[in-house]
């Protein structure tokens, strides 16, 4: 016969074990919740928009009739914006991270730059839009142009690119530096011939991921004054523009159900572009990144 204490103990232990199992189930459900939402979102957007997604959708301009509406101007606008954002943000971002990782002395100014970058990453994009509107559009008189939009976008993703490049540079082992120093290389020679080649895959991966954030970015460009109805092909950086997310937003905010379906069709294209960019980043990471 078991005595009372043992029985009570066993009861308590089984209670604790059940509680643990229950909690595990709940935690797992919470983790899966994200997946379920993602699946629902994709299925929903695809079923809603697939009817409008055809070749004509990609090759025609926005229209007042939902069945004629297309995203040609929006896609071209995104390409134009990126053609400014990619070089500007890459050069500034990689330059900043090289300074911080290779040259910066450990002083207050360096810490200030790093803190500043961290805070800049948390500034809402709509505030970046206000900056672009005031400085680029009005002060520098670029107008509501591709140039103003591209520069604003570059500043917006700059903090993210800096973080990614810094990590890539930091992962280069000290031995590589020492070997180069031993051969008599100078600092800049090391950066040019050791650091940059070794860090390129990491930088590229980070850059593509942050650019994919830029492709989906809406609020800041909306502030710059990207138009929602454009029926021409931009021919220069001072032309007006629209981009895919803005086109989607303008369709989504119309009352007609048909236009919401068109917006969903645009969303499918946007999601496909993002998936392609992300897969590219993963491929680069897996194929070229070295483990030391």
């Amino acid at each position: 016969m078991k005595n009372k204490v043992v029985v009570a103990n066993e009861k308590q232990i089984s209670k604790r074990i059940t509680r643990n199992k229950l909690a595990k189930g709940l935690f797992l459900a919470a983790t899966l919740f994200g997946m379920i939402v993602l699946a629902t979102l994709i299925v929903r957007i695809v079923t809603q928009g697939i009817g409008y997604l055809d070749f004509g959708f990609l090759t025609s301009y926005a229209s007042r009739r939902p069945e004629d509406a297309g995203i040609k101007a929006a896609i071209l606008g995104t390409v134009w914006i990126m053609s400014i954002t990619i070089p500007v943000s890459l050069i500034l971002g990689v330059g900043t991270s090289i300074y911080l990782e290779e040259y910066a002395p450990k002083n207050k100014f360096t810490r200030f730059i790093e803190l500043n970058l961290a805070n800049l990453a948390g500034v809402p994009s709509v505030v970046f839009g206000l900056l672009g509107l005031t400085v680029f559009v009005r002060l520098l008189e670029m107008g509501r142009s591709i140039l103003a939009g591209g520069l604003t976008m570059s500043l917006l993703i700059l903090p993210v690119i800096v973080v990614a490049s810094k990590e890539a540079i930091r992962s280069i082992p000290q031995e590589q530096y020492e070997a180069a120093y031993a051969m008599g290389a100078t600092k800049w020679q090391i950066i040019r011939t050791v650091v940059l080649p070794a860090a390129t895959p990491g930088i590229l991966t980070g850059a593509i991921l942050s650019l994919s954030r830029g492709v989906g970015e809406t609020a800041s460009l909306l502030m710059i004054g990207a138009m929602t109805f454009i029926a021409y092909t931009p021919t220069g950086v001072l032309d007006g523009f629209t981009v895919l997310p803005i086109q989607i937003f303008s369709w989504a905010s119309r009352p007609q159900v048909e236009f919401q379906a068109v917006a969903a069709a645009g969303s499918i294209v946007l999601l496909i572009i993002l998936i392609v960019m992300n897969s590219l980043a993963i491929v680069i990471r897996n194929k070229y990144s070295k483990r030391y």
């Binding site: 604790r16 074990i17 797992l28 919470a30 979102l41 948390g122 505030v127 800049w188 609020a219 937003f249």
Partner: protein, 309 residues
Amino acid sequence: MKATIRERIKQNKSKRSSQNKIEKIMPMVFLLMASISILVTAGIVFTLFRETVLFFSHVSFINFITGTEWYPFFGNDPSYGIWPLLSGTFTIAAIAMMVAIPIGLAAAIYLSEYASDRNRKVLKPVLEVLAGVPTVVYGLFALTFVTPLLQTFIPDLPIFNALSPGIVVGIMIIPQIASLSQEAMNAVPQSMRDGALALGATRLEVALKIVIPGSFSGIVSSLVLGLSRAIGETMIVSTAAGSTPNLGFTPTESIQTMTSYIVQVSMGDATFGSTIYYSIYAVGMTLFLFTLTMNILANHISRRYREVY
């Protein structure tokens, strides 16, 4: 022969001096690039500040921060009291946090304490994908899926309401909270878990009594960052919450947030130089101050109160 050697030395010297020049110039070039980020911040603060000051030459500062009515489009008698926009913003943020805190933290605990390595390798990237969905797509999802879904439970829910975008903003920040909290939990040393497990604790007890207290500062800081993102979120709210400034916690009514007001005005082409035009800077300044305070706070919490192992 002598001449050539001399020439060679000369050549070498000139080469080295040009190299030396590059060595001196490059750090400055990079310093210049690094300083651009400071310039950007300065630019943001300066533009917001200048135009906000202009705004307050039209509208009194006291009215702005104490006023409870926001009717900028009321022809002759506009009123600019920020409270309705603040309450709209915090309604969205509150709903979002109600969704994101329990789900995000539960997911973080699962990933850090329960999941096997293999499961984690599958689950984490999926969460990252969820974080990568553009906000405008989330907005469309809120408007055309979540709102109708909610309407089946709450029949008189209007098409534009705070509840649906609030929930979707919450879903959007789940990945951020989950992955930042999980990183904080990972920093708790395994030996502490092993010690508790060896004493007979269940995994749940380890999580609640060892891991969460040990990573509390990181968790709180991830929550503050999430809140800051919810406050700054623009497109979901602009698409699905409508544009009716509304004072008080009114989740089932149309509201307006600071961000969606800025978007509304900039879409409507307010005349340059009008009071309405300047008002977006005052609202932007308020928004900027809120998010900046939260980011600094999050940074401070995670640094100051971190347990060092």
